[in-house]
């Protein structure tokens, strides 16, 4: 067995066998299961809810109450009693609310809601919608249109078809394609965020612990610093990919078996609408992000003196990761902003943002390739740079800023 394989397998298997790995994988699996079982789980809590009962007192004399339709969440009832009596019913708690309809300026609908206690936000919004559409119907009614005319107004719907007429431009994507890509890209960004965050601290603590306990000196005196760095980075990457594979496999099995395969069909639809190019880019960006951040974790781990200092050392990297993630979230509503464009080229955030741009905007693919090349170049550059001081940094136990430590480490590496 070569020394690289020895170091790699030691790094990989020791963490694979660790309890913490099982626990985090289990928690993530529970998370995935909750996602697929969500309708069932939310059903457990929802069955207890009774629909909101609302009594309508109609003073319009135009039968405006008929525009309110009961559904699972709200039931409307038109009152035959006086306003006073109905108010008493509300106060006694027999009905949840009283909706008083009257006329304003002679031909507009006016609605007032009386409740014993304030309504929940969700119910408030539903009622507002109902009142809004009732008001529209009421106004149409006032215009004395025929039923057929009224129906045509209500059902009118227009589809905006888009056509790029310049010869050079590529065919634009439909908004539906873009929305799908946005959802998938959000998932990619989220997975990168989650994985990098957990594996960043794993690798930096591993390197810091080896440095702190002087095992590092034994290892690099029998192999080389390059081999140590590479074996640690690849060991942790292999671990991350193992966990990722377990989660994907579990997710696919769950999608197939839960909810009678509803999610399986949904995923099928989702992925069939994605192009092969998009999928390839997303995978590359995901993998490159893992490599970049693992490498940074290893280098930061080599610079601190004690394992306790690791948290503080990786803080700036965590910040960068958060910035990328939040910008990716902002892109969900509008992926065409300048902010998104700029950050899709910065290597530390590109992997979370570029997949969204590829899928959700009509940019040309050379931009994605450029961003990927910048990311790859950064990884190679960082690797070469860290080799210059890795040997020194694992032997330096000085205090001071990172810049000072790097300088000292470079000096020692000479």
């Amino acid at each position: 067995m070569s020394k690289f394989m020895l170091l790699f397998s030691q790094s990989y298997t020791s963490k694979l066998k660790a309890k913490s790995f099982y626990i985090t994988t289990l928690i993530m699996l529970i998370g995935v299961a909750c996602f697929f079982l969500w309708p069932t789980i939310s059903g457990w809590f929802a069955t207890a809810d009774k629909p909101l009962s609302i009594v309508i007192v109609d003073q319009t004399k135009e039968n405006a109450a008929s525009y309110f339709n009961s559904n699972k969440k709200i039931s409307f009832k038109t009152s035959n009693h006086s306003l006073k009596e109905e108010e008493n019913q509300v106060l006694k708690g027999k009905t949840d609310a009283l909706l008083l309809l009257s006329l304003k300026n002679g031909d507009q609908l006016n609605a007032e809601l009386q409740t014993k206690k304030p309504l929940e936000l969700n119910n408030q919004q539903m009622l507002e919608q109902q009142v809004q559409s009732a008001s529209q119907l009421f106004t149409i009614q006032q215009l004395k249109l025929t039923a057929d005319q009224a129906q045509r107004i209500m059902n009118q719907n227009v589809q905006l078809s888009q056509k790029v007429i310049s010869q050079a431009a590529e065919k634009g994507k439909t908004s539906e394609e873009k929305t799908t890509a946005t959802i998938v890209s959000y998932a990619v960004a989220f997975i990168i965020y989650l994985f990098v965050l957990s594996y960043l601290s794993i690798i930096s603590s591993e390197v810091a612990a080896e440095k702190d306990s002087r095992i590092m000196e034994i290892i690099i005196s029998s192999t080389s610093p390059v081999m140590h760095l590479l074996s640690r980075v690849s060991g942790v990457l292999a671990l991350a990919m193992t966990q990722f594979a377990v989660l994907i496999a579990a997710a696919l099995i769950m999608a197939r078996s839960f909810q009678s395969g509803k999610y399986w069909d949904l995923l099928n639809d989702l992925f069939s609408s994605l192009t092969a190019g998009y999928t390839a880019y997303a995978i590359f960006f995901f993998f490159f992000a893992c490599v970049l951040y693992t490498l940074m974790g290893a280098v930061l781990g080599s610079l601190v003196n004690k394992v306790q200092d690791v948290g503080q050392a990786v803080m700036p990297v965590t910040m960068m990761l958060m910035v990328g993630f939040f910008i990716a979230i902002s892109g969900m509503s509008n992926p065409d902003t300048l902010l998104i464009k700029i950050f899709s080229y910065i290597p530390f955030t590109a992997s979370m943002i570029m997949p969204m741009r590829i899928g959700a905007t009509d940019m040309s693919l050379w931009q994605a390739l450029l961003s990927l090349l910048i990311l790859g170049g950064t990884i190679v550059g960082l690797f070469l740079f860290s080799l210059r001081f890795y040997r020194g940094s694992v032997l330096t136990y000085a205090n001071g800023s990172f810049i000072k430590k790097i300088k000292q480490a470079i000096l020692l590496s000479k």
């Binding site: 067995m1 020394k3 020895l6 170091l7 030691q10 020791s14 660790a18 080896e210 306990s213 002087r214 095992i215 590092m216 000196e217 034994i218 290892i219 690099i220 005196s221 029998s222 192999t223 040997r391 020194g392 032997l395 000096l411 020692l412 590496s413 000479k414």
Partner: protein, 299 residues
């Protein structure tokens, strides 16, 4: 096999960690590197291990640059203990042995043998973190020599060991010496150095105060260490010619003479009234020599 250090220096910007160091460690001998904290011992070891590069000078193995020395032939025990706490003792030794290029099959036999020798057989499947400090130290030592190195570097190997275990360790080191391993070790404990080493290098702030055989260092000062037991008073003794200092140690007096030749007249004076129980003339101990050397530099 010989390790030769020639005009070795290491400078970190303004700070001189090692200054023009020269010594030779030969097969069949144990070489001791002695110095206070910060004297440059660990820096010297790191240069021999090729962890850091010298500013100037050369480190040679068999007359060739030390870079040609196969890394699997080196054994290294760092000053602070480096073991994986969550690994069992057996796996740990297997890992470090494989790291030095040995196969699993040969290692398993060796591991059992060494564990038995160090009375650790029952700890083979135990997690390293649960061991006592002394036992961890023993595991660390086995890890540094399990692959039968040709050059063994031990940085403070005796720290944290009780006398029984220190004895076990000494015997193991002597056995390796007899098998032909070149051994260099550093220690604060002069009694260990005196017992094990033939040649030493005294370091102070990176400079070598003495490099050579211990006996040569002792001869520099001569036999000026005199212990006597008999019916004397301190005042009787301190008045004698050539006596620098007198100290009472339990039931004896210890006299430091300015010169070896002062001993004869003192013997005559003390025995003129007849029998005395003890009169013993010897070299200074290494610890005293070390203190003198270090103090002498301060003057």
């Amino acid at each position: 096999m010989t390790l030769t250090i020639e005009h070795l220096s290491k400078r970190f910007q303004e700070f001189v960690a090692v200054d023009n160091l020269n010594f030779t460690a030969k097969q069949g001998e144990i070489f001791g590197l002695i110095g206070q904290n910060g004297a440059g011992k660990t820096t010297t070891f790191r240069m021999i291990l090729n962890l850091i590069a010298p500013t100037s000078g050369a480190i040679k193995w068999e007359g060739e640059s030390v870079h040609t020395l196969n890394r699997d032939w080196i054994g290294y025990l760092p000053e602070e203990r480096g073991l994986y706490p969550k690994m069992t003792v057996g796996d740990q030794l297997l890992f470090f042995g494989q790291l030095r290029g040995k196969s699993k099959r040969t290692l398993i036999l060796e591991i059992n043998e060494w564990l038995e020798r160090f009375e650790l057989t029952d700890k083979r499947k135990v997690l390293t973190e649960t061991l006592s400090k002394g036992n961890q130290q023993k595991v660390q030592l086995i890890a540094s020599l399990i692959h039968k190195p040709r050059l063994l570097i031990l940085d403070e190997p005796f720290s944290g060991l009780d006398p029984v275990n220190a004895g076990l360790l000494k015997n193991a080191i002597i056995a390796l010496k007899n098998q032909g391993t070149v051994i260099i070790f550093s220690s604060h404990r002069m009694d260990h150095v005196e017992e094990l080493c033939d040649h030493i290098c005294l370091l102070k702030r990176g400079k070598s105060l003495f490099s050579g055989a211990i006996i040569d260092l002792k001869k520099q000062y001569g036999k000026v260490n005199l212990t006597v037991r008999g019916p004397f008073m301190t005042s009787d003794l301190s008045g004698l010619p050539g006596v620098i200092s007198v100290s009472e140690e339990k039931d004896m007096y210890r006299l430091i003479l300015s010169h070896e030749d002062d001993a004869r007249p003192i013997f005559k004076t003390l025995t003129q009234d007849g029998f005395i129980e003890r009169f013993s003339l010897d070299y200074l101990s290494l610890e005293e020599l070390f203190k003198r050397k270090v103090a002498g530099e301060n003057v």
